[in-house]
């Protein structure tokens, strides 16, 4: 019997062998049970692979033709993948640059401009932050979970101290973003049920803002809402870029500057845990003019280009979709963004099994399903169902 022909059986199965080789293989197969059985196995694998079902989430194929058409009708719907093709280290380097150079310079400027005496709220009795805030370490590690815990902690501290700080310190013009009114208007969710609910912490902070009454208090507590996880246009720019944890971390740190906390030469890391109770009395917003100027389609395309494959990245993506929906509530793409808030949240839960992700998912799904214009309720129900009954 001739030598086995196993290495040619794949091509033989596909009828891609030259005639001479094909004849040789057939001759061998007539005499070799082992090769014949292996050929049958290869054919069985192909057949079984063809028979495997590939199913998309319910409703997906109902919507896809319209979504493709929408992109064709919107000339701006071209992807800009270059930004996402940057190697990961470039994001870390950018974050380090922001934190190491830009932020200290800004801090020094803010420090010089501050009044001589800023009555600091007394927060010594508050529990210490649950996470030691080291911006550089955070940027290097891209620990979004740590960032979120820190944000929660800082929000809680600020919630306690904001009224006192507001009474003692009138709003300082320089420290308020010049486009604040525009941002506030931009941040308003649609009049109908909101596209995606802010977290309970954010809602609580906003309620306190209403109770406080004054515009400065409202502004301050709005920043608490952001720190607690609610997305407004103020942090939209960072949310839209939040695919890379390191970049998100860097922007978040910049957003949470504490103007009264750090004397010159003092590390920014200390400011966020300053026991003198600095808190987040004022937040200068570093917004992205580029992001603001872009069309919803361009931002949508930017969001859908790159995959998110870690829990932190999925959470960041979820919040980016939420920001998109809030920022462009009347865009034809807003509904898709709302659905993706839920689907991305479901993916984050499946990957990390963090109860907070599950709670957020249920909340987001409930809000979406209450909308009268929910065009893809089936997808949201399916995402929820897969989580509730995996």
């Amino acid at each position: 019997m001739s030598a086995h022909v196993r290495d040619r059986l794949s091509a033989y199965l596909d009828q891609e062998l030259p005639p001479g080789e094909r004849t040789a293989v057939e001759t061998h197969l007539q005499a070799c049970d082992a090769c014949r059985q292996h050929l049958e196995t290869l054919a069985a694998v192909d057949a079984a692979a063809r028979a495997l079902q590939v199913e998309a989430p319910p409703g997906y194929f109902d919507a896809l033709p319209g979504r493709v058409r929408a992109r064709l009708e919107w000339p701006g719907a071209r992807a800009r993948p270059a930004r996402f093709h940057l190697p990961a280290w470039t994001w870390a380097a950018a974050a380090a640059l922001v934190l190491g150079v830009v932020t200290p310079l800004t801090m020094m400027s803010v420090w010089r401009d501050r009044p001589e005496q800023l009555p600091a709220p007394r927060v010594a009795e508050l529990p210490p932050p649950t996470v030691a805030a080291s911006p550089l370490a955070g940027a290097a590690g891209g620990k979004l979970e740590a960032k979120e815990r820190l944000a929660d902690d800082l929000a809680r501290r600020q919630a306690e101290s904001a009224p006192a700080a507001a009474k003692a310190q009138p709003a300082k013009k320089d420290s308020i973003p010049s486009t604040r009114a525009e941002q506030d208007a931009f941040a308003q969710p649609p009049a109908a049920p909101p596209a995606a609910a802010p977290s309970s912490k954010a809602l609580e902070a906003r309620k306190r803002a209403r109770d406080a009454g004054g515009p400065h208090e409202q502004q301050q507590v709005q920043t608490q809402a952001q720190a607690a996880g609610g997305v407004t246009a103020d942090n939209r720019a960072s949310a839209l870029r939040a695919d890379e944890p390191a970049a998100a971390e860097a922007e978040t740190k910049v957003l949470r500057r504490e103007p009264q906390a750090a004397p010159e030469g003092r590390a920014l890391a200390k400011t966020s845990r300053d026991k003198d109770g600095a808190g987040l009395r004022e937040e200068n917003v570093v917004s992205s003019d580029e992001a603001r100027a872009e069309s919803p389609v361009a931002e949508y395309r930017r969001l859908i280009v790159a995959p998110a494959q870690t829990v932190a990245a999925l959470r960041a993506r979820r919040e980016a979709w939420r920001a998109f929906a809030l920022s462009f509530p009347n865009s034809p793409l807003a509904d898709e963004a709302r659905v993706r808030v839920v689907e991305t949240g479901a993916a984050a839960w499946r990957l990390g099994h963090d109860p907070e992700d599950l709670a957020r998912l249920r909340e987001d799904a409930a809000v979406y399903l209450e909308r009268k214009d929910a065009a893809h309720a089936a997808r949201v129900r399916a995402a929820l169902q897969k989580v509730e009954r995996p």
């Binding site: 794949s10 596909d14 196995t41 692979a49 028979a51 079902q53 992109r71 190697p87």
Partner: protein
């Protein structure tokens, strides 16, 4: 005129002339096949969704040069496969970041294969396919599922015929090794049904 019920060449001719409704119907007809190709290569629903959309957008942009005498299906599948492979080759894909069953792939509960193939064997095969190196997986999907010729695969993925052949050989060897313990009469019946 409604797009539904029209023959493919007529639809494509209208789409070529700028009729978006006709192209929407083309998308409707081919979306499942294109999605299947994309999902089997990229493994995640959200990425497959992007690939499918981009594939149709590119096809629409290239319609002016498309020969209407040629079948549209293989062409759009090649575009999708190319995009999908480009994605999995990209640094940010980082395929190892997800378990094989993490993707939003939808339930397989109504799988007709259940009648002839043990569930375990099906799952093993599925995991084995998803566990293939991306470029082997792409070649295997295009050949075994889409039944493209080696020449078509080589053109779609920018490979030589020899590379297609060797990758396909390696992919099949790995899959056969994975499912061999589960190969029983049921799988062999599936083989008969699949042909």
């Amino acid at each position: 005129m409604r797009a539904e019920g029209q023959d493919e060449a007529g639809l494509l001719a209208r789409a070529k002339g700028g009729d978006l409704s006709a192209f929407e119907e083309v998308v409707r007809r081919y979306q499942r096949r294109v999605y299947a190709v994309a999902l089997r290569i990229v493994r995640r629903h959200d990425v497959a969704d992007d690939v499918v959309q981009d594939a149709f957008i590119r096809a629409h942009q290239a319609l002016a040069g498309f020969d209407l005498a040629r079948p549209f299906g293989p062409w759009i599948c090649r575009i999708a496969a190319n995009l999908a492979v480009n994605h999995v080759r990209s640094p940010e894909a980082r395929e190892e970041g997800l378990p094989a069953d993490h993707g939003e792939r939808g339930a397989l509960g109504s799988d007709p294969l259940d009648e002839v193939l043990e569930v375990e064997a099906r799952e093993v095969l599925e995991r084995a396919i998803l566990g293939l190196p991306a470029e082997q997986r792409a070649v295997f999907v295009l050949r075994a599922v889409e039944e493209m010729s080696y020449k078509e695969i080589a053109e779609a993925l920018g490979l030589s015929m020899g590379t297609v052949m060797s990758r396909l050989f390696r992919a099949r060897e790995r899959l056969a090794e994975a499912v061999l313990p589960y190969l029983g009469p049921a799988l062999r019946r599936a083989q008969g049904a699949g042909r």
